[in-house]
């Protein structure tokens, strides 16, 4: 067997199917998107070569930067919400009553499709019949907020379901990581007189730090390319107040029939996401991992 694995031809043979699929499904479309960005193209008729015009226009496009800002805000909120997820999973992982049931409850949003979640929250936010404003009305709030219609708050109104949607995913990851910590270490700390908070911050957190770093990257990258809930709940409106990079790209390509420009935005999104990922990796890099 070792002989086979050291034969370069065999290595190539084994890698080929995966490599082929990855290039056909990912790298070639990526390059094509960049290439379409160089074109004036309505997606239907003939293409016309423009050079870098689309990219130059995009860099000066205030709407694009607004949507990019919204994407970054989402990334910030998602990253901050990791703290809540972490706290929740710490509580769940310690032996409390009903933690099994609670864990399942947190997982439910993961089982729902984004469109179903969007529909659910549209109903919750409904200005006159929604659960939220009905509750506010019983508390005597005269003019409850118009959650999805007010340009000042619509973005945050959408962040809440997004954060809710991914709670189960991150809690599951943290929970699994926490469960992996050998009980003996915690036991030893407890005998030494460490308080639960000290155990959480001094022992558990450092031990799962590598997982936390992975989730930070996941949350940021996921936020930068986020699309579905926003598309269904507001379509980027009112008047672009909840537009993110992906929904702006979609709108240009599909609603405005401007595939060339849409592709340019998509390619810029890729570049921005790559840069941010690189920076985050650099910032969170440590010399050595803590082992148990």
């Amino acid at each position: 067997m070792n002989k086979v694995m050291s034969n370069k031809w065999f290595i190539a043979l084994y890698i080929f199917p995966a490599l082929f699929l990855v290039s056909v499904l990912i790298f070639i479309p990526l390059l094509l998107t960049g290439y379409y960005g160089l074109m004036e193209w309505d997606g239907i008729g003939a293409m016309e070569f423009l050079g870098l015009d689309n990219y130059i226009v995009a860099i000066q496009d205030a709407n694009f930067w607004d949507s990019a800002l919204h994407s970054f805000l989402l990334a910030l909120f998602s990253t901050l919400s990791l703290i809540i997820y972490l706290a929740v999973s710490m509580i769940l992982a310690s032996k409390i009553k009903g933690s099994d049931v609670l864990r399942k409850i947190y997982l439910i949003p993961m089982l729902l499709s984004s469109v179903a979640i969007a529909q659910l929250w549209i109903k919750i936010y409904d200005p006159s019949n929604g659960v939220l404003n009905t509750i506010l009305a019983t508390f005597g709030v005269e003019n409850p907020p118009l959650w999805l219609a007010d340009t000042n708050i619509v973005l945050y109104s959408i962040f809440i379901p997004i954060i809710w949607q991914y709670a189960g995913f991150y809690i599951l990851i943290y929970y699994a990581a926490l469960k992996n910590i050998p009980e003996s270490i915690i036991e030893a700390a407890r005998i030494d007189g460490a308080s639960p908070l000290q155990i959480a911050f001094r022992i558990k957190l450092p031990l799962i730090m590598s997982i936390v770093k992975v989730t930070i990257v996941l949350a940021i990258v996921g936020s930068l390319k986020y699309f579905d809930l926003i598309y269904v709940m507001t379509g980027g409106g009112p008047n672009g107040a909840s537009e993110v990079m992906a929904s702006y790209m979609y709108k240009l390509a599909f609603a405005n029939n401007d595939f060339g420009y849409g592709s340019a935005i998509a390619f810029l999104m890729l570049i921005i996401t790559l840069i941010v990922t690189y920076i985050v990796r650099k910032l969170t890099a440590t010399k050595e991992e803590i082992q148990y």
Partner: protein, 439 residues
């Protein structure tokens, strides 16, 4: 050891043979269907894509299936391969399919601005032969024309829509309100309703075109039938006084709390359901929703009986009540690159003819072909609408349909800002002017 190897070898060989056999089979099949299309003795398949899913347009959906069944029965050798998508998905799919040159043989398209890129890209076949073959005479004047590009027709219209303000008679009666004939009366109706804690007008402006209809009516009443059209086709300007005043009046209505709260975040469907659940007194929509107010069995009889409608009122004594905002809805196109173009054209013209009658009698929508309303047993509201159409002095095509895709999107965004009080009427006009002249 040797035995093991032999077994593995045999199994692998079998697997390879199986895969090979599978491939060969499917090749045979495709070969068969290929010859089928060329050979008139066998079946040719026409792909047809439409946007009336069973869930949201039950009657439309059923009629389409009936027409297809009839067509297949009458034309042996032609089979219709059906694909159904909902409105927004349909639009996306059209763009994706045409980029890959995979459009269905027959499908639905919108008129004017939507149509242009497809015609420029040689995706739709000209249908002049069908039009000259007698089909052309059946359409209501003005409908087929909006599917024309450079004198050739590229779509066979199926619907004709005009927009009205529908109202809930029960709510109106409760406060002794009458159908308003002037804008001032409409304002009074709104005031009375608000004072009594009723939501006056349902509006789902997340979909933006709903707000555009209100603006268009103001423009029409204040500036006459042509001022908006002229601004769009560049013979006039969007900074015309009447168009700015129309924007002002629109904002006046918003300031008077005429519309349900949060309208900019609500979809048209949500606004509609508020109207249909007696939660709002009025609702502006086009005649494609007539079935909900007349024949649709899923809507409670009590509600259907209490719906009335009025034409958009005159403003400051200006304007003509018989001038409508509306236009043809969807029409059928035939793919330019279709392998079965003859059969597709045959199906498209058959469809339009059948649709004309069945749409009226069974779905209660206004088709784009002329119908003799006298001989049919129709709901009263429907007959009234047909009468209005006969007396109509003008029909202004929906602004977003008139414009090309990019400008239409700017227009719709501006409508949302206008309703959201984020821009002044002057800025509204100015930014339209800018978008249109950059075309």
């Amino acid at each position: 050891m040797i035995k093991k190897k032999a077994v593995t070898l045999i199994i692998s060989l079998l697997a390879v043979m199986l895969i090979a056999a599978g491939c060969a089979d499917s090749e045979d099949e495709t070969a068969n269907s290929d010859t089928g299309a060329e050979n008139t003795g066998e079946t040719s398949t026409v792909e047809f894509m439409h946007l009336w899913p069973e869930g949201s347009s039950a009657e439309h959906h059923r009629i389409v299936n009936d027409i297809i069944d009839d067509f297949e029965a009458e034309n042996e050798g032609i089979e219709i391969d059906l694909q159904v998508l909902s409105n927004e998905q349909y639009k996306d799919q059209m763009t994706v399919l045409s980029a890959g040159d995979e459009l269905p043989d027959v499908g639905m398209t919108w008129a004017a601005g939507y149509l242009d890129p497809f015609v420029d890209g040689d995706k739709f076949a000209p249908l002049d032969d069908l039009m000259e073959d007698g089909l052309g005479d059946q359409f209501i004047a003005g409908t087929a024309e909006s599917f024309e590009v450079d004198g050739s027709t590229y779509g066979l219209p199926l619907e004709l829509n005009t927009s009205y303000v529908f109202y809930n008679q029960t709510i109106f009666d409760e406060y002794n309100l009458e159908e308003p004939e002037t804008y001032e009366e409409l304002e009074q109706v709104v005031d009375t309703l608000s004072e009594n804690g009723e939501e006056p007008i349902a509006l789902g402006n997340r979909d933006r075109w709903t707000g555009s209809m209100w603006y268009m009516y103001f423009a029409d009443r204040i500036g006459g039938a042509d001022v908006l059209n002229d601004a769009i086709d560049r013979t006039g300007s969007f900074e015309h006084d009447a168009l700015i005043q129309a924007a002002e009046e629109t904002q006046n209505m918003v300031e008077n709390d005429s519309f349900i709260s949060g309208f900019n975040g609500l979809a048209d469907e949500e606004a509609k359901s508020m109207f249909m659940n007696d939660q709002a007194a009025m609702y502006m929509i086009a005649t494609w929703d007539l079935p909900n107010f007349t024949t649709n069995e899923d809507v409670p009889q009590e509600f259907r009986d209490s719906v009335g409608y009025f034409k958009f009122p005159t403003v400051d004594g200006q304007g003509d009540e018989d001038s409508f905002v509306g236009g043809p809805g969807v029409g059928l196109f035939v793919g330019e690159n279709s392998d079965v173009q003859e059969e597709s054209k045959e199906f498209a013209s058959y469809f339009v003819e059948q649709w004309g009658e069945m749409a009226v009698t069974e779905a209660g929508v206004i088709p784009a072909t002329t119908v003799d309303g006298e001989t049919l047993d129709l709901p009263d509201m429907y007959v009234d609408v047909l009468d209005d159409l006969n007396e109509a002095s003008n029909l202004t095509l929906y602004a977003d349909v008139q414009m090309s895709a990019g400008v239409a999107d700017t227009h719709l965004d501006l409508i949302q800002s206008l309703f959201g009080m984020e821009i002044t009427p002057e800025e509204f006009a100015e930014q339209h002017e800018e978008a249109l002249s950059n075309e």
